[in-house]
């Protein structure tokens, strides 16, 4: 169930540029944006305080989203010591501050509240196609609704994996309790470029099959790697290069009857830094 994009090295600069622009143009048409966490660093030293920045955008290009209690349900971290909330004030960017008390893997989660959005038919259909929500598109077509707009309740679940100290296989990502959530089944900080990262998708605690999972690298966000989850909600993505990675998926179900909306969407993402082999390390922002 895994698939990877052709290596960026095989493409000419012009081709890649056109792809980048195409992605941005498509994203702008969609009117539905990705949401992820970008920490000030993925690999802090123990004892440091790092900023946990929420971002909205497309193709790993985004804008800061300050902390807003109207949107945010919980901003939390789970590490060896357990779970705790991240401190932060409304209106602040970064949305939260994380003190790294001890070495280890820190799983940070932004659990959003449902927000309301209304999209015109054209935008909604384009967004369904982009996110691989074929069943929703089919359901709309069956009900002759493809030409009408949609009222949607969207909920964010953004996670990031932060490593302090030495990576170890037993350090694991874990489910934080979002209704729709991506969990990495291998510690990416123990991986190298070219290896496959197994991930698991759950919705309401059960595996979600058939969801389109997309991964993109900070340096080349247009080179998207995607695959659909299998019957056990699993997907494997081969990540060709080091640096910051964003993996995301969208799930959509009919909205509850009392929600005054047509559809409820759930946006899950996870970010982390894939260690690059020393020889190919490039100085850059992460």
């Amino acid at each position: 169930m895994s698939a990877s994009a052709p290596s960026a090295a095989t493409r000419s600069r012009t081709v890649r540029l056109v792809v980048v622009l195409g992605v941005l143009a498509a994203a702008a048409r969609l009117g539905a944006h990705d949401f992820w966490i970008e920490p000030t660093t993925y690999v802090p030293e123990a004892g440091r305080i790092i900023g946990v920045r929420a971002r909205v955008g497309d193709g790993f290009l985004g804008d800061p989203v300050p902390r807003d209690s109207a949107l945010l349900d919980q901003l939390i971290v789970e590490d060896a010591a357990g779970r705790r909330p991240l401190v932060g004030h409304d209106g602040d960017d970064p949305a939260g501050l994380l003190r790294i008390n001890a070495p280890g893997l820190h799983v940070v989660g932004y659990l959003g509240k449902p927000s309301r959005v209304e999209l015109a038919a054209e935008k909604f259909n384009a967004y369904l196609a982009q996110e691989g929500l074929d069943q929703v598109a089919a359901a709309r077509a069956a009900r002759n609704q493809s030409g009408t707009g949609a009222r949607e309740l969207f909920t964010r679940c953004a996670k990031t994996l932060i490593l302090a100290g030495v990576a170890a296989a037993e350090q694991r990502d874990r489910a934080l309790g979002c209704r729709f959530e991506i969990v990495a089944e291998r510690n990416p900080y123990t991986m190298a470029p070219g290896q496959a990262l197994p991930l698991r998708l759950t919705y309401d605690g059960r595996p979600l099959a058939g969801a389109l999972v997309v991964a993109m690298n900070r340096k080349r966000p247009a080179d998207r790697i995607s695959a659909r989850s299998d019957a056990k909600g699993r997907v494997q993505l081969t990540l060709p290069s080091g640096g910051g990675w964003l993996v995301k998926a969208v799930h959509m179900v009919p909205a509850p009857a009392d929600a005054n909306a047509d559809w409820a969407s759930f946006w899950a993402s996870i970010t982390f830094d894939l260690p690059a082999p020393p020889a190919t390390t490039v100085e850059g922002r992460s």
């Binding site: 980048v20 622009l21 702008a28 009117g31 949401f35 929420a54 290009l61 985004g62 804008d63 960017d93």
Partner: protein, 371 residues
Amino acid sequence: MIGIVLALVAVVGAATSIEAHEIGTTHVTVRLHGGAAPGGGRVTEGGRYDIDVETDAAALLDKLETLADRPGPAPTAADFSERLAAFETLFRDRVAVAFDGAEARPDVRFAVTPPRDDVSPWTARIRLTGAIPSGASRLTWTYGWTFASYALSIAREGEDTAANEWLEGGQASTPFALATPAPRVSRAGIAWQYCVLGFTHILPKGVDHVLFVLGLFLLGSRWRSILWQVSAFTLAHSITLGLSMYGLIGAPPSVVEPLIAISIAYVAIENLVLTELKPWRVVLVFAFGLLHGMGFAGVLTELGLPRGEFVTALVTFNAGVEAGQLTVIALAFALVGWLRGDTSYRRWVVVPASFAIACMAVYWTIERLQF
């Protein structure tokens, strides 16, 4: 390069949307300076605009570098603003300042502010400045460098209130009127408004004027005496009201107001002494009318007169005053007019009423002299 531009045009054009997104940290402030023709709706020459875009500096540089396919190392304090400025041409592609639909070409300057601590972001302040085209009436703003919602604030120089709007990246703002729109009040509307102001200045607000008019009404049982006095009074106060409003004459309220009180006292006391209209009474009433006119002018100056409809407002205010006075007489006639032929009229109406008015007026005179 043409391909990039075409693709960017597509991005900017397609990104116009009305859906709500997460609110970001970008703020745009538009300030308009000078050149506004008061009430004219259009801008005369010499007007300028300056627009400050405050946004996350690293996020902006990231987008610019990715779009240009020129990724660079982490920016430093020394090179941050230069690196942003190097993408000025690309930056302009997704920003539009338009006057009546025609895009302007502002000067663009990039500056960055360092973060307050090592977890906070760098802030970019991009200032766009230029001249407002002569004769322009509306400004429209579009900013396509953010994926989050942002606040736009537009203010004219010297005005406290700004127009605020939430926008999505790439969405054009509501066209903003550059000059203060002229209030659309018709001549008939102004005439009615000032007529009502004139009337209410007598009834119910002008107790002193009411007592003066009652004083005129009480003298004599014949219509002719009332007609003569009211005519003289009206003519006189119209003259001084007009002259005062044109600034040709003027007297301070500290002089006019006590004199008005004295005039009321005089009329009331003379009512007690005389039984018939004498020629000098008409002359005096005329003189008092001149005083009252200056009093009306003081009120009208406080209310203000519309520049475009000065004469309309002046004439209709005076007409309103007149209507108020005639109403006082009509009410007085309805109340005691049926007694006018009676022999007891003077004894039971004129004398006690005039006495009461005189007392009130003397009190006012003393009160007003104390200023």
